[in-house]
């Protein structure tokens, strides 16, 4: 097996002919791979609670 990555770590070539499918047309979603992910943009696990912008709390002084 011979696999190359570009600078971002994405698979771009594979001698066993998997990589085109993997890199350009991913076959697996995160959940299918067993990955649950939290980012600031998606998968917000919390009930919306009138926070200013989800940036870490409606504290009495916190701002960034």
């Amino acid at each position: 097996m011979d696999i190359n990555f570009n600078l971002e770590g994405m698979i771009i070539m594979d001698t066993i002919q998997l990589n085109d499918q993997v890199s350009e047309n991913p076959q697996y979603s995160d959940l299918e791979l067993g990955i649950i992910r939290e980012t600031s943009l998606q998968n917000q696990p919390f009930e919306q609670c009138n926070e200013p912008d989800g940036d870490g709390g409606f504290d009495d002084c916190i701002s960034e």
Binding site: F5, I11, G57, D59, D60, E64
Partner: protein, 457 residues
Amino acid sequence: MTVSQNKIYQSDLLFKYNLGNHLLIYNPVGDHRMILLDSAAQQVFKICLNHTLSQVCDHHLLRNLSKKRIISTVSRLADYGFLSIGKPAISNISQSPHKQSLSLWLHLTNRCNFNCSYCYIAKDNGHMSSSVMKTTISNAVEQCRKHGLENLTIKFSGGEPLLAMDLLRETVYFTRELCSKFDIHTKFQIISNGSLIDKKITDFLKSHIIPVACSLDGIGTINDRQRIYFDKYGSFAAIDKGITTLLNSNWNPHVLVTITPENVSGLKDLTRYLIKRNLCFRYAFVRDFNNRNLKSQETKHISQLFTSELNKCFDDIEISIRVKQFNSKVGLCGINLNRSSNCICGVGTSYAAIYHDGSICSCQMAFNEPLGHVEKDGIIDCIRTRHSLHGLRERESNSNWQCNTCIWATICAGGCPMLAQKTFGTTLVSSPYCHAFKELIPRLIRIRGLALLYSQN
């Protein structure tokens, strides 16, 4: 050499916790801070360590997974910054870039119907005039344009800002109109004691999308030990009524809990009250530096006491998440798990407190140390060049900052810098509550991981 022969490394600064069948991994830097891996994905992740991709693909423990899936898992984890291929990942733990925003504590009035034991605002009948408000907002907008900031957040505060409702309304209309001319995005928040909230006020706040933060420190008499009216009468019933009014209008408040030696024994009951209502809330430790010597041995004891009680509360929160009774956000002292910073707040960069007379201050805890005035000084110019927080600018490069060697340095960032300054005369020290932060931050991460896990199930 092809990449398949390169070693795979885990990022160098990962925190891992087992949550049942899932592995929680928290990366304190980067865009993707937290992931959960099921048993198959965590098997791949663990075998990756110091193996090449070829070795991982051929590993006997992964024979039940297709090579395509293994490669996809490795690739995805590398994309998200939890693995690196070919060379060890060295995390850059410098602070996140500052948001393109200015946030103002707008001190509408110095009046308050409460006289809470730990309040740091010296209250009187002073209040902001319409003229000072307009000068302040105009100043802020001009400064946002000068410094290229796109967002302006106004926090209505005091005193009790609902005692200045007419000015609050006027501020909303004036700010919206002015900011719309310059494409500056405006947000409002209100920090209230909750006692004056009624249906009419709630309707106004909701219709203008003004989130509400209310303070509540305990149930019944526990709250009333420290949150009291001037005639010493307790405030719990009034606050509870205000919170209920907001809930009935589906305008859920964010509850601020201040922990002191007087109310810590009731923290668990209060937590259950908040869980039952599925309210977002945050705990904070008292910053009563006027009356208490935070350098003392007593503070260490208090910090340990707070930690012990909070651990019990966190136990309840974890259980309630697991049984799906609670899915709101829980915070501690402004700690933001999504951000790397050498300062926990925007003091000195993106945050200012404007006193009712127009004085510009670094923070509402420093109203006695004005840096300038809205009539003659630019707000951002002022807070960035005149603040007196010793060492704040040099923290990142200063080996004398006590937090430099702490793994949580960019998460809690030494706690409240004003508290450090007032207590020790410098911000190059760790928080008086350092012990508590070190013990409780991992628990915050676990709670967040659980919330993420159960939000998917």
